[in-house]
């Protein structure tokens, strides 16, 4: 038990969550106390992980199980920022729909701590436990709207498939453990590279390759990459919109971190094997995600397929096995998270009690009803489509550059073609908002702090597009 202080943000957040859980029992269910306490805990954790990021060198602790480096502190900071946004946007939605508020916020906090653990874990056991902490909270969050049978169905699907994927991941990890005799990813890396004293024969690494395949299946499921994407549209559609927002934003950052820690941190010497698998998954994801999204009339399903295609782009940076590629993917993951956050934030703000914005027609004429929400949605859509000057353009450009630089020109060309196809359904949303007549005339009321949050979020989408250097330099620093 050394260097316990590198996990202070997580330890603080977990302790604060337990406190919030207890407070939630005693306060009035209608009051916002639990909400403000949750935001406060996230904010303090954010400050803690932000101040931690000062030192440049990686510090490992807890017998190698936990690492604090610029990679983890950058991702943790963004995870917490996105989680704060998620809580802010979902507050009124959750209150109006009679979802138990205190449990909702507590589960969100638990999920966030799980993600932070995943980001820092350099030990397969820690990583798996962090993942389960996240996944279990997510299953419960999806089902939390109890009177909604669609939510129950989505939760069931998510739970069964998620458990299967966890099983695959664990099986793969156990095979790797069998081949290398260690759970510590740094040690595994040394053993497989042949630099450790007890490195196995080349024949024994076959066991590690065997495990790698299963690990990739598990990771691809958590990311939602084709062909392990079947759960994504159903869960996105069935879950309450605020939970969909949560699932589609911060966990992608955490899953990306896990991918990097496992494949680059531990199994980099097997890159010839995982490169091909990731390239195929990336190509399939951009094609399937973009093509099927066109046919969707439900906006949550459309965003689900859009997520699948973005995961394809995310993987495109990793297939090259270059540091530039990894940092491009990291940039992609971070910017994708807050761009989608803005899109879902608008959907939640435009919903009201008894009426959820779910199908595309609900957005018709949003520009006439509430120009502010419509413009934030527009920013988010052009960013997702990859139109300059929004941040999505720069993100796409850098992963495509990395793919071309690493000799995956075919993949980059496929990505460009498919993002042109994808632009159709993003621009259709903008067209509907500004050029169609409203079908609904009820005035949209948005709380002041939500308006402020959305404004900051929209500014981030456009601002980081004009000046991507801030996130990009952090991403490059994480891999140097």
């Amino acid at each position: 038990m050394d260097n316990l202080q590198i996990a202070t943000p997580e330890i603080f957040l977990l302790a604060a969550t337990c406190a919030v859980l207890v407070v939630g029992l005693f306060v009035n269910a209608k009051s916002n106390t639990v909400y403000w306490l949750s935001q406060l805990s996230l904010l303090v954790a954010l400050l803690m992980s932000f101040t931690q990021s000062g030192g440049g060198d990686a510090v490992t602790g807890m017998s190698g199980a936990y690492t604090l480096d610029s990679f983890s502190s950058t991702l943790k900071t963004w995870l917490l920022v996105v989680s704060i946004g998620v809580l802010l946007y979902s507050r009124d939605y959750v209150g109006d729909r009679k979802i138990q508020r205190s449990e909702y916020f507590v589960l969100c906090l638990f999920a966030t701590s799980g993600m932070m653990i995943m980001v820092s874990a350099t030990h397969m056991l820690t990583m798996y436990l962090g993942l389960e902490l996240l996944a279990l909270s997510q299953y419960a969050l999806v089902a939390l709207h109890r009177d909604n049978s669609r939510a129950a169905e989505a939760a069931m699907k998510y739970f069964v498939l998620g458990a299967l994927a966890s099983g695959m991941l664990l099986y793969g990890m156990s095979m790797i453990y069998g081949a290398t005799g260690s759970l510590d990813l740094n040690v595994i890396g040394q053993i497989l590279a042949g630099t450790a004293s007890d490195s196995p024969s080349a024949e024994r690494t076959v066991g590690a390759r065997f495990g790698l395949t299963f690990v990739i299946v598990g990771l691809a499921f958590k990311l939602g990459a084709v062909p392990f994407h079947m759960w994504v549209p159903d869960v996105y559609e069935g879950a309450p919109t605020s939970v969909t927002m949560f699932i589609s934003t911060a966990p992608k950052i955490a899953a990306f971190a896990m991918l990097i820690r496992l494949l680059v941190g531990g199994l980099e010497t097997l890159n010839a094997d995982w490169q091909q698998m990731l390239a195929i998954m990336s190509a399939l994801s951009v094609v399937v995600g973009n093509l099927i999204a066109i046919a969707q009339t439900n906006i949550k399903r459309m965003l689900a397929y859009s997520t699948i295609s973005h995961v394809g782009f995310l993987l495109m940076g990793v297939v090259g096995v270059t540091n530039e590629g990894y940092s491009a993917s990291m940039f992609y993951a971070i910017t994708y998270a807050f761009t989608t956050l803005a899109a879902f934030g608008v959907l939640l703000a435009a919903s009201r009690e008894g009426h959820d914005v779910e199908v595309l027609d609900d957005l018709a004429g949003l520009g006439k009803r509430n120009a502010f929400l419509a413009s934030i949605m527009m920013l988010s859509m052009i960013s997702l489509a990859g139109v300059p000057p929004a941040v999505g353009f720069y993100a796409k450009l850098s992963v495509l550059q990395a793919a071309v630089g690493a000799g995956f020109a075919w993949l980059a060309i496929l990505g460009v073609i498919m993002s042109v196809v994808g632009a159709f359904y993003y621009l259709r949303v903008i067209k509907m908002m500004f050029f169609d007549e409203p079908t609904d005339s009820v005035e949209i009321k948005v709380a002041g702090d939500v308006t402020a949050g959305l404004a900051v979020n929209g500014l981030a989408v456009i601002g980081f597009g004009l000046a991507p250097g801030l996130i990009m330099s952090a991403s490059i620093a994480a891999f140097s």
């Binding site: 038990m1 449990e103 653990i117 056991l125 436990l129 279990l136 909270s137 299953y139 109890r146 024994r204």
Partner: protein, 202 residues
């Protein structure tokens, strides 16, 4: 043949017999009892491997807790197994085929060079004066793996919170009693003596 080998073969034979009986016996209660026997003998095999902690856990958790629940469910639900067995003969060839393929795969894997047992280091035998593995596990769990252990605890907490949040409902129309109010009840609050003039019987 050493005694150890002899014991292993005895246990292995019982495991195979009991596992077959689990799926072939007609009475679900018998199946559950055979499963208990399977677990017990597996625990014996683990004992032979000097994994006494796992053996004890298997008996305590699976036999003691899980199987008891299982038996409760089987007895309470009164499952009619006859419909489940229909088509047994019809699907038997497919089942046998799948089983055979799996068997061949397994044999193939463990006899091929990559997964052969000589590819993996033989664990050293613990000497008699070394710690028992329960103690060793305990030391590891509370020192090196303390952080992971705590996360596991948090996961259990999440499971409890989620289970309660998903199932507990406050129903305003439920009738219930509050003992404190009941005890505090006095004659004054409940009984009213009404004075009435006497009336003649009509």
């Amino acid at each position: 043949m050493t005694f150890e080998l002899f014991a292993f073969y005895c246990f292995a034979a019982i495991v195979v017999f009991a596992a077959t009986a689990v799926i072939s016996s007609r009475n679900p209660v018998h199946s559950a009892m055979f499963l208990v026997l399977t677990f017990f003998t597996c625990a014996g095999i683990w004992m032979l491997l000097e994994a006494e902690f796992l053996a004890v856990t298997l008996v305590l958790v699976y036999v003691g807790a899980v199987m008891v629940l299982f038996l409760f469910v089987v007895m309470m639900l009164d499952v009619n197994v006859e419909p489940l067995r229909e088509g047994f003969v019809k699907y038997l060839p497919v089942g046998l085929l799948v089983g055979a393929v799996m068997l061949v795969e397994m044999i193939f894997l463990i006899t091929q060079r990559y997964f052969k047992s000589d590819q993996f280091p033989v664990p050293e035998r613990a000497s008699a004066d070394q710690l028992s593995n329960t103690e060793m596990l305990g030391e590891l769990l509370y020192s090196q793996y303390l952080f992971q252990f705590e996360i596991a605890a948090i996961i259990l907490l999440v499971a409890i919170v989620a289970a309660i949040a998903l199932t507990m409902r406050r129903r305003p129309d439920t009738k219930y009693q509050t003992p404190a109010v009941q005890i505090a009840a006095s004659k004054k609050g409940r009984l009213r003596v009404v004075q009435m003039p006497a009336e003649k019987r009509s």
